[in-house]
């Protein structure tokens, strides 16, 4: 099964190359993208099941682990890959239908397809990488693709939003790069498994500095509170499918990197206190920002920032229960947030606006749309029995189990944020769907090709609720792996201090010479 591991990277990159080659024929491009992403989804799902038996490791080019680059698919990677593949496929189908319906004004196909596939590949590299520098490369691949997608067409508003986004992302990449350099100089390796063995041996203060630098770099990408101001300013101006996939995936790649490094490299939980304060501030400040908004896209961007706080909360608890709930929350949030943004895209197409002051009466005109909005919105705010409720309950239970006063403060903050989220989404639903429509309302038809992927994604969110038992036990096992560190390290460094591959032989030959 090991041969499956590189495929989530190889397939989209090959597809991107082919899509560039066929840039003159949109039909072939569409076929390539859909085929490649469907295949990626199948591969990711197989990895999800295969990784449940133990992490799968591939040493790229046959160079054994600490020397070469290893790709590792453990339970966490498998989960993240599967959800991201499902989400990217749905968003692609949505954008295809939108492009067909609007004469490709919103999404010029020639650059859209290759860039979108490169973005998918970058996300997969980040999830699979067993090497800190390769993680950096994965981040750069997905960020570069995201710059192009965000500024597509180069209109005034998008260049304005893109400027801020690109500069902030560049800055976080530079901080990440400095952290990689310093970690290499302190330990002599960038392999995550070997770092997990070596980092506890170095000076505690140096280790703290390295930990904080990585945390700042990933914190900017994940948009945790003091580092989150760029997000609501840049996401809403992009085309609807692009915003949806960014909101669903890109911040979660940052969260994934935080989970991976905080558990594998810095498992001692020394900065949990700081993380808890950050989580509390992210939740509360983010949702207060959402309360003040009158545009649905901006409102959802602020709830996105706010709910990142829940995931950081679970990480900061440094317990198996907290981590399991956090991973479950990530899975839930990717699907729900993406489907909400897709629905908003449908609303914008139908009524020509996303401003709550100009919308109204949609419940009567588009009853299906109102259901598609309401289900993920209620799930986001944590109404039982939907998946958001289950994730929040898990987090609150883990918080209460931790038992200290700061954890109780976070539990209170989590409940407050949940209630405010309910207020925000119900306000949006009331204004857009129930209020009498404005007199000059224009109503277009939503093409079925756009509604169907949105409905599929909403259904996926419901499926996470229905299958919450198996999924939760899977995330619990994933959290157990992460907490104990050994399955990961033993899988990568399978021969004690090296991985599989011809390089141990080479080293032995060299020593004998």
């Amino acid at each position: 099964m090991d041969w499956l591991v590189p495929l989530p990277v190889v397939l989209p990159l090959t597809g991107a190359g082919l899509a560039v080659a066929f840039s003159r024929s949109p039909r072939i491009q569409r076929t390539i993208s859909v085929t490649v992403l469907s295949a990626t989804l199948l591969v990711a799902a197989s990895l999800l099941f295969a990784a449940d038996a133990g992490p799968l490791v591939v040493n790229v080019g046959g160079w054994a682990a600490p020397v070469g680059i290893s790709l590792v698919a453990d339970r966490l990677s498998g989960l993240m890959l599967s959800v991201s593949a499902a989400v990217t496929l749905c968003v692609l189908l949505y954008s295809l239908a939108q492009g067909l319906a609007e004469g490709d004004r919103e999404a010029p196909v020639a650059i859209y397809h290759p860039t979108y596939l490169v973005l998918t590949a970058g996300v997969a590299i980040a999830f699979l990488s067993g090497d800190l520098f390769n993680l950096y490369v994965g981040f750069e691949v997905l960020l570069t693709a995201s710059y192009v997608l965000l500024t597509m067409e180069g209109t005034r508003a998008r260049i304005r939003a893109g400027t801020i986004y690109v500069i902030v992302a560049l800055l976080s990449s530079l901080i990440f790069l400095v952290a990689v350099a310093l970690i290499y100089s302190a330990t002599g390796t960038v392999n995550l498994a070997q770092l997990a063995e070596r980092l506890p041996e170095i000076d505690a203060t140096t280790r703290l500095i390295l930990q904080l630098m990585l945390l700042i770099a990933f914190g900017i990408k994940a948009a945790v509170f003091p580092l989150s101001a760029w997000l609501p300013d840049s996401y809403p101006t992009a085309p609807a499918p692009v915003t949806a996939v960014f909101a669903g995936l890109l911040t979660k790649v940052g969260i994934y990197a935080i989970i991976r490094t905080q558990t594998l490299l810095f498992g001692d939980g020394r900065i949990d206190g700081v993380l808890m304060w950050v989580a509390l501030a992210t939740m509360v400040v983010g949702i207060l920002g959402a309360v003040a908004q009158s545009d649905i896209k901006r409102l959802l961007s602020f709830t996105l920032v706010s709910h990142i706080g829940y995931m950081v909360f679970g990480i900061a608890l440094s317990s198996r229960a907290g981590l399991a709930a956090s991973i479950f929350y990530v899975i839930h949030h990717i699907t729900v947030q993406t489907s909400l943004f897709l629905v908003v895209g449908l609303i914008e197409q139908k009524a020509g606006s996303t401003s709550l002051n100009r919308l109204g009466g949609l419940a009567r005109i588009a009853p299906l749309l109102s259901i598609l909005f309401l289900v993920p919105a209620l799930s986001l705010s944590g109404i039982p029995p939907l998946s958001g409720f289950l994730g929040k309950v898990g987090l609150l239970q883990a918080g209460v189990a931790a038992g200290n006063s700061l954890a109780y403060a976070l539990v209170a903050g989590g409940i407050l944020t949940s209630l405010l989220t309910l207020y925000v989404v119900v306000k949006a639903w009331n204004k857009a769907f129930w209020q009498p429509p404005p007199s000059e309302a224009v109503m277009n038809r939503n093409p079925g090709g756009m509604v169907a992927p949105t409905a599929a994604l909403v259904a996926l969110g419901v499926a996470i609720t229905v299958l919450a038992g198996p999924i939760y036990s899977y995330t619990d096992r994933a959290a157990g792996d992460l907490r104990s560190q050994t399955p990961y390290i033993e899988a990568v460094l399978s021969r004690g201090d090296r991985g599989e591959g011809p390089s141990p032989q080479a080293a032995a030959e060299d020593a004998g010479r």
Binding site: Y147, R160, I167
Partner: protein, 169 residues
């Protein structure tokens, strides 16, 4: 591991100058200056990789150089990757600065929308207070608001701020 020798001091000074100058430029308003700043910091970080690679040695090829005299190849591989990435992003930023100049006849980084909204609300409240205290204080405040950087005023008015006023009415 490449040993715990003291780092190369001149290189460290050059890195400090590059990063310091780069950070100063990134804080500027003009996108082309930010771009130069990013290039400076990027090159500073690239040099940092040379420092952490330890003292220079022979080519790291088995059979050509003794193991003890080899230089560490890994930081050089990383630095090459990061140079390529910096180059690509420099190209993208240049294109974006040029596009911004095409559209706005300048390439300045704009204010944050939320900042503008808050500043605007504060200005309206302030105007109300001033008006009650001494009528005629309004013009001064309007001038002040106009003097604030707001090149995207028309866009902002259309899309976000007009709605605030609707709400207020």
């Amino acid at each position: 591991m490449s040993g715990f020798l003291a780092p190369d001091l001149p290189l460290v000074v050059v890195i400090a100058v590059l990063v310091g100058g780069g950070v100063y430029l990134i804080l500027e308003r003009s996108l082309s200056r930010v771009l130069i700043g990013v290039i400076l910091v990027g090159n500073g970080v690239n040099l940092l990789f040379l420092v952490i690679g330890g003292p220079a040695g022979g080519a790291p090829i088995v059979g050509l150089t003794l193991r003890s005299a080899m230089s560490d190849p890994l930081p050089q591989a990383m630095v090459l990757t990061s140079i390529v990435i910096t180059l690509a992003l420099t190209g993208f930023l240049l294109a974006m600065a040029y596009r911004s100049w095409q559209l706005n006849e300048h390439d300045e980084v704009q204010d944050d929308l939320e900042d503008r909204r808050i500043a605007r609300m504060a200005a309206i409240d302030q105007a109300y207070i001033e008006q009650r205290r001494h009528p005629g204080g309004l013009e001064a405040l309007d001038e002040e608001a106009a003097a604030a950087r707001d090149e995207m005023a028309s866009f902002v008015e259309e899309h976000w701020l007009a709605e605030d006023d609707e709400e207020r009415v």
